[in-house]
């Protein structure tokens, strides 16, 4: 079957979706996807970021589709013509979906562990506005503890439901899911259970935003200060092929190996992810490359880096000890209860 997307044609197998065909072509025309995950069955169709315009249904029925369709769940037809980036309507729709996703998003990127590898950041970089039209209070949720390894920030969630599908398809006995509805729909456990399945850590990898992050990596580093390496170990539970994120000689984080669409190549187990933080546990294969524009490359170690010498440091620190003595007080002033300390 032949499909044409933004003027580029490709031959695909029957049953291929438009998004898959677009990814085969690659480049600018690939629609962004926040909820679709090729490795998870039944994902997609929810975020509406990947809307495309079908200007010709097929050779047999050349009528255009009246509405924009979600490319991740719409199958290709022979002779189909699709407009993705070339259509103004599509660009407009993506802009509006981005705006909708951001109105209730806390925008706390400066303190978010996902920042730098966040799909929503990428989406808003491309389609977002720098202004907001939303002046109301954002909706918030009570924090919930879902176990020792995974940190849930419900305020950041965009309800792609990938984590629910991971729990359904990779683990048995799913203990979390979507509660409530509308803009108060939230990911939660039933009821206040800990998520401790051996493969539950993959929820972190599939989460497109910072709603599910690694507690063992929490506030340790910004992702672009880490150096990602491909590494592997002999694991009896999973493939053992991971990316380790190093800071000096310390492994700060272990994740699955993510491709250019931020989908992991293979899912890994919690032992590899959370417990093996020693360099001796791993066989390091070599640096992991990221797409050119990724902020992770800011700290690109494949390039030769000059050692930075800060000469002013000594001058700045001079006299600091004296200052501290001057402004600090030995006791609490006006304290009637000297035993307080």
């Amino acid at each position: 079957m032949k499909v044409t997307i933004d003027g580029q044609s490709i031959e695909v197998e029957p049953g291929t979706t438009i998004l898959q065909a677009a990814r085969m072509i690659g480049g600018e025309l690939v629609p962004p996807a926040m909820c679709y995950y090729s490795k998870l069955k039944g994902s997609g169709g929810k975020c509406r970021c990947c809307l495309v315009e079908v200007s010709k249904g097929s050779d047999a029925d050349p009528r255009p589709m009246p509405k924009l369709v979600a490319s991740c769940v719409t199958g290709c037809m022979d002779g189909m013509e699709v407009n993705s980036k070339s259509s103004e309507r599509v660009e407009e729709a993506r802009k509006s979906v981005t705006e909708f996703l951001l109105i209730n998003h806390p925008l706390d990127c400066p303190v978010c562990d996902q920042a730098g590898e966040c799909d929503l950041q990428n989406l808003s970089f491309e389609h977002g506005k720098s202004k907001t039209r939303f002046i109301e209070e954002k909706r918030t949720f009570e924090p919930e503890d879902i176990g020792p390894y995974i940190q849930l920030h419900m305020n950041r969630c965009i309800l792609c439901q990938r984590c629910v599908q991971v729990a359904d398809q990779l683990t048995d006995n799913r203990v979390h899911g979507v509660m409530d509805r509308g803009d108060h729909a939230n990911i939660s456990t039933c009821i206040s259970k800990a998520i401790d399945n051996e493969f539950s850590g993959n929820m972190i990898d599939v989460c497109p935003v910072g709603a599910l992050t690694d507690k063992t990596f929490r506030f340790k580093s910004r992702v672009w200060f880490n150096k990602p390496y491909n590494a592997h170990r002999d694991c009896d539970k999973c493939c053992g092929k991971t990316t380790v994120w190093m800071f000096g000689n310390e492994i700060q984080r272990v994740t699955g190996r993510k491709d250019e669409y931020h989908e992991v190549e293979e899912f890994i187990c919690n032992t590899c992810r959370f417990d093996k933080k020693d360099v001796n546990d791993w066989v390091i294969e070599g640096p992991r490359k990221f797409e050119k524009d990724s902020v992770i490359n800011q700290n690109n170690y494949t390039r030769k880096i000059e050692k930075v010498v800060i000469e002013t440091e000594e001058h700045i620190l001079e006299g600091r000890e004296q200052d501290r003595k001057k402004i600090s007080m030995p006791d609490f002033p006006l304290d009637s209860n000297p035993k307080r300390v």
Partner: protein, 455 residues
């Protein structure tokens, strides 16, 4: 008097019970269908009748039936959508409460036509007493041999169950209804595949409204051609209208499609005119999701022809000057109504009932509601009207199911036809703070305040 098909026998004492219903010609259509007709012949009659889905979308029932996948050999299901939750609509409740056997008779005949051996009535949780009535009626029908194995010795088996939902508006969307019936969270499915191919438990399924199914017995008994004679053009047959608002006689009325709106509102047979001497201001002809009509477009279309109670005439002029028949939730407003508050109220409903699955509806409905709430409370900004318009246009058409459209249409129509009222709320917050603004002072008297002035 218009012809009565559904409510013909509603006033017979005891029609709720099986004996009385049977004595008055009940279940005759089952006898006729099972003994004298093939399933395809029944479908053909329904097709000829031209009856359109009474749930709101108006899709021809016969055509829907003919789409059902019979080739796969998978068991087929008929599901009756009794999850009537559209604000302003209460016709199905009336039908099920007062003449429950009519629906059951329709279910048996329709299931036979579709070759379904397992059928369901999905009823909303708030209709608990109606559920009990239906359960009793099904038990009676079963005891009399109309349900179960080998009905009337024809070799046709049918099991019919009533399932109570949790009371979510979204479960009235057919795929969400199917999900809920399967015991899952009531989220609409992504189409295709359509229920006619993969519905309940991945089997071919037809989902029909209570009123559509209840009309089937009459069509079988009197032929589809006879049914098609009632009504005008493509709007055939009769329709139940749930009339409410500022009218003398609110209630459920059965009309022949083609009655003029003017007659429906003013005739003593139906609504009986306005409730008092305050003039008509606006009309929502088909439940809260359809666009609201301003006074000058109610009796006449923009083209100057009479506005009739038909699918075509009510939508004449598109969304610019028309509306829709929808589910028949006919809400009449007099000039004490504040359209802003009414729109906010509808928006609040959709905000509350959005399932939260897809982004535009989940985030957009809440946003609409918050802005309307601000305007209604005198904290609106001049740019909010434009913002509302922009948000609704971004929700519409970009969602998985029609709830997004339903949430944006009333807002769009209110701004289109009553923009001045929004401006009035924004510019004169002092005047609206007591909430009696249009009762004390109809909008026509203050219209000049927001009129454009050229100096």
């Amino acid at each position: 008097m218009g012809r009565k098909i559904l409510l013909d026998k509603i006033n017979i004492p005891g029609i709720k019970t099986y004996e009385v219903y049977r004595q008055n010609g009940g279940y005759a259509s089952v006898e006729k269908a099972l003994k004298q007709m093939t399933p395809d012949e029944v479908t053909e009659e329904v097709k000829t009748s031209g009856i359109r889905g009474r749930g709101g979308a108006g899709f021809p029932v016969g055509m829907k039936w003919s789409f059902i996948d019979k080739k796969s050999g998978n068991p087929r299901h008929l599901v009756c959508n009794a999850d009537e939750s559209e604000p302003g609509t209460f016709k199905d409740r009336y039908l099920m409460e007062y003449i429950p056997h009519l629906l059951i008779e329709g279910m048996i005949t329709s299931s036979y036509a579709l070759g379904a051996n397992l059928s369901y009535i999905y009823i909303r949780g708030e209709y608990m007493w109606v559920y009990k009535i239906l359960e009793r009626a099904i038990a009676e029908a079963k005891a009399a041999g109309w349900l179960g194995k080998n009905i009337l010795g024809s070799g046709y088996d049918l099991d019919l169950y009533v399932q109570v939902g949790g009371g979510a508006y979204i479960c009235g969307e057919e795929t969400a209804l199917i999900e809920s019936l399967e015991g899952k969270r009531g989220n609409p499915r992504i189409k295709p595949p359509f229920p006619a191919v993969k519905g309940l438990w991945q089997n071919p399924t037809v989902v029909n409204n209570v009123e559509s199914i209840s009309a089937v017995p009459w069509i079988v008994m009197n032929t589809g051609a006879e049914y098609a004679k009632i009504g005008i053009e493509r709007s055939t047959g009769t329709k139940l209208i749930s009339a409410s608002g500022h009218i003398k006689n609110p209630g459920v009325y059965e009309i022949e499609l083609g009655v003029s709106v003017e007659e429906f509102i003013n005739s003593d047979e139906y609504c009986g005119g306005m409730i008092d001497d305050r003039p008509l201001k606006a009309l929502v002809p088909g439940g809260s999701s359809v666009p609201i009509l301003p006074a000058h477009l109610i009796y006449k279309t923009a083209a100057g022809t009479d506005r009739l109670m038909t699918y075509e005439s009510l939508s004449d002029g598109g969304f610019a000057t028309g509306s829709m028949l929808g589910s028949g939730g006919f809400i009449v407003y007099n000039d004490t109504t504040c359209i802003v508050r009414n729109t906010w109220n509808f928006s609040r409903f959709y905000h509350h009932e959005s399932c939260g699955q897809c982004t535009p509806c989940r985030e957009g409905t809440g946003w609409l509601e918050k802005i309307l709430w601000r305007i209604e409370n005198g904290q609106g900004r001049e740019e909010d009207i434009e913002l509302l318009w922009s948000i609704q246009s971004k929700i519409e058409g970009n969602t998985i199911c029609p709830l997004g459209d339903a949430a944006s249409w009333p807002v769009a129509a209110a701004i289109r036809h009553f923009k001045e009222e929004f401006e009035y709320h924004i510019r004169f917050p002092e005047k609206i703070k007591n909430r009696d603004h249009f009762v004390a002072e109809p909008f026509d008297k203050v219209r000049h305040l927001v009129a454009k002035q050229t100096v």
